[in-house]
């Protein structure tokens, strides 16, 4: 079982992350799923009617705006980093938090490595599925990389110039 970082702690994963080509009939009624955006587009109604937990994941080329009005339906939103150098999900994260006021779990998935965690946390991620070949205990330390930040972001709505 994969372990993930959630709210600064390492916990066992309980959600099932479903691939892009999944179909509705592969889902059970009670399990907790993070479904691809496409499945949500096609079967929102059926997904909402299930008893299990519901999350959705967006790839880096999918836009936060598509689920902006629906965020209340999701316990988890996961944003994919196909490569850690692909920075689009940082902007999606900020839009979901700052603009669409998503308050559930915002999880980074994909090529998630410790040296990017500090930036991710600033953009509103509170859960990190560290790449399986890396140690999540080590990664936790990087959430403390900086003790001061200049910009306003999701974790700190005031820029330093309004605090210094």
């Amino acid at each position: 079982m994969q372990r993930i970082i959630k709210n600064n702690q390492i916990v066992d994963e309980t959600w099932h992350l479903l691939p892009k080509d999944v179909t509705l009939d592969e889902l059970t009624n009670c399990d907790d799923y993070i479904v691809p955006l496409q499945l949500w587009r096609e079967h929102a109604h059926a997904l909402k009617a299930r008893d299990g937990g519901l999350g959705v994941w967006l790839d880096s080329d999918e836009e936060a705006e598509e689920i902006g009005e629906d965020v209340g339906h999701f316990q988890v939103i996961a944003l994919n980093f196909p490569a850690f150098t692909d920075g689009r999900s940082y902007s999606n994260a900020r839009l979901l938090r700052d603009r669409y006021k998503f308050t559930g779990e915002l999880r980074a998935i994909g090529d998630v490595l410790r040296d990017q965690l500090f930036y991710m946390a600033r953009c509103g991620f509170d859960a990190f599925a560290i790449r399986p070949d890396k140690n999540p205990e080590d990664a936790l330390q990087s959430l403390k990389d900086f003790s001061v930040t200049y910009q306003a972001a999701t974790d700190e709505p005031l820029p330093l110039f309004r605090r210094r």
Partner: protein, 552 residues
């Protein structure tokens, strides 16, 4: 000069710690080459032909004597006694060992310096006019705005992994010495009818493989909205800039694809949400930063025109130097002096540790302990008393800084090229040197007058060849180094990109080619016409005919 407070200092110290650990993990095999690469690049560390190259940030070109001595010490202790001023006002070392870089950064942090975001696909060092704060034609001092933008760029969490690098330049004067039109974002001050300050905002300029003069997308951005607007531009770019092809990933490609009008609409759509938010700048913050850039303790002096003219009479060498290497100052009795780093036979922009120490010393004695670097790869002492000018000249001569060639053909902008850089297709330093040798007659050089000659060793265009009046680009033809020449580029106001003259030339032919181009100009020019003016009047054909005729 901006002075760090405890927050600024803590940020760079945190960075040293972070990078020390990243380097340790890389050397221990915990971080792969691929994982470490973007991390080291965002600390200015390239792996080059012979050794890593470390690029140290000189924010908008400002240095103190104390910092300059540290740069000298690093050249001495970790390099082979050299440093190089880059075309973006930064300082580069070509020989540090990778293992030493955390220690170098720790030493830099003791003088409020760092290498943050000097490379990589992120927000880079902000650049400006090397005469900021002293130029006679200045509308506002751009340096407080540069510092405000610098802090905004530093570890911006949303924009650390952009499609490609991102460069912002800010101009504060009537003329544009910061080349803002060839930057990803260019900013310059403008006042509205009510007398309020705002910025004209340009996006999508840049050199490299696809040179583009940017487009102004906002004619009046209120100063309070500056950072929110930058957030908006960067968010649009971060989300929609191309990531499938690194040669099409700069913002200029996105702006072109969307058109500047549509790009501006997308930015405005973001601004609807961001305007009036907490990132809106405050009077207090601008004041806090601006107080670091107030005038030094200038004396009440008069201009010494007559005395200097008399010195000119006595010392023709001084006269020549004064004509080229000094610029009028906003304060009577003062003058801004450019130290040429372009003597013949030295790689343009290079200086030794001893020279750096000397520059620090001269700045202390002649210019309030402060100096600047320029994108033309020279050094400026901005606040020299006119009464001391002759004494300064004598000292500069002694230390190799008094070549009277600022703005002339031999003041060549040049990248490190194939001698050092692993990207280069061809050498650039030897080309610069062979041209400098051909034009070593000072009378002839002065007669030719103002001319920007820029050399890049590959199409990444670090030597800004597209915007040279004469541009030279190193190209690889079947494993051999050739040079393509372009004419008519300009980085100043109403910037333009050079036009390619024709087929490329062998290295040995380059001095002849340049000489032929100059001879056309000398024959065709009217009085007071610079090379670029003559070119614009007569076009490229006469130059083409002369250069290629001789080949038959």
């Amino acid at each position: 000069m901006y002075v760090y407070d405890e927050y600024d200092q803590r940020i760079i110290e945190d960075r040293v710690k972070q990078f020390r650990d990243q380097t340790r993990r890389y050397l221990a095999g915990e971080l792969s080459e691929e994982e470490f690469r973007p991390l080291r690049l965002q600390n200015g560390l390239y792996i080059q032909r012979f050794a890593p190259m470390l690029r140290v940030a000189v924010p908008y070109g400002q240095l103190t004597s104390r910092q300059t001595r540290m740069l000298a010490k690093i050249a001495r202790d970790y390099d082979k006694g050299y440093a190089h001023i880059s075309t973006r006002q930064n300082v580069q070392y070509n020989w540090p060992a990778l293992e030493d870089v955390p220690d170098i950064l720790a030493e830099l942090a003791t003088v409020q310096m760092h290498a943050i975001q000097t490379s990589g696909n992120c927000l880079r060092n902000v650049t400006t006019d090397q005469f900021a704060g002293v130029a006679a034609d200045e509308l506002i001092d751009p340096r407080p705005w540069c510092e405000i933008v610098r802090q905004w760029t530093t570890f911006h969490p949303e924009f650390a992994y952009l499609p490609r690098k991102f460069k912002i330049a800010i101009n504060g004067s009537k003329s544009d010495r910061a080349a803002i039109e060839v930057h990803d974002i260019g900013l310059e001050p403008v006042h509205n009818a009510a007398g309020e300050l705002g910025f004209r905002v340009l996006v999508g300029g840049g050199l490299g493989r696809t040179p583009v003069v940017g487009a102004f997308i906002n004619e009046f951005l209120p100063w309070r909205d500056l950072l929110s607007y930058l957030d908006a531009i960067l968010r649009v770019y971060n989300r929609y800039g191309r990531r499938d092809n690194k040669y099409k990933a700069r913002i200029k490609i996105l702006v072109k694809a969307l058109t500047p009008e549509v790009f501006a609409e997308k930015v405005e759509a973001e601004m609807v949400h961001l305007r009036g938010g907490q990132t809106t700048l405050t009077e207090a913050e601008v004041q806090r930063v601006a107080k670091h850039f107030v005038d030094p303790d200038y004396k009440a002096l008069d201009n010494l025109d007559a005395q200097l003219a008399e010195l000119d009479q006595q010392h023709p060498g001084f006269a020549r130097w004064r004509a080229r290497n000094t610029l009028a100052h906003k304060k009577p009795g003062y003058v801004a002096v450019t130290l040429s780093l372009k003597p013949t036979g030295v790689a343009p922009g290079d200086l030794t540790d001893k020279q750096l120490d000397k520059v620090a010393d001269l700045a202390e004695r002649y210019s309030f302990g402060q100096l600047r670097t320029s994108h033309e790869q020279n050094i400026i002492l901005a606040d020299v008393e006119q009464s001391q000018l002759h004494a300064l000249w004598l000292e500069l001569r002694e230390h190799g800084f008094a070549t009277p060639n600022i703005g002339l053909l031999t003041d060549i902008i040049c990248c490190p090229g194939g001698d050092f850089c692993s990207l280069a297709n061809a050498k650039s330093i030897p080309i610069a040197e062979s041209i400098q040798r051909r034009f070593d007659d000072l009378d002839y050089l002065f007669d030719i007058g103002e001319l920007d000659l820029n050399i890049s060793g590959c199409m990444n265009a670090c030597g800004h060849h597209h915007v040279g009046h004469i541009g030279i680009l190193g190209v690889d033809k079947k494993g051999e180094e050739f040079y393509q020449v372009s004419l008519g580029g300009s980085a100043s106001r109403d910037a333009s990109l050079g036009k390619i003259l024709g087929p490329s030339f062998a290295q040995d032919d380059m001095p002849d080619v340049i000489e032929k181009l100059i001879s056309v100009y000398v024959e065709k020019r009217t009085e007071d016409e610079r090379f670029i003016d003559t070119y614009q009047r007569i076009g490229i054909d006469p130059f083409k005919e002369r250069v290629y005729a001789a080949n038959h």
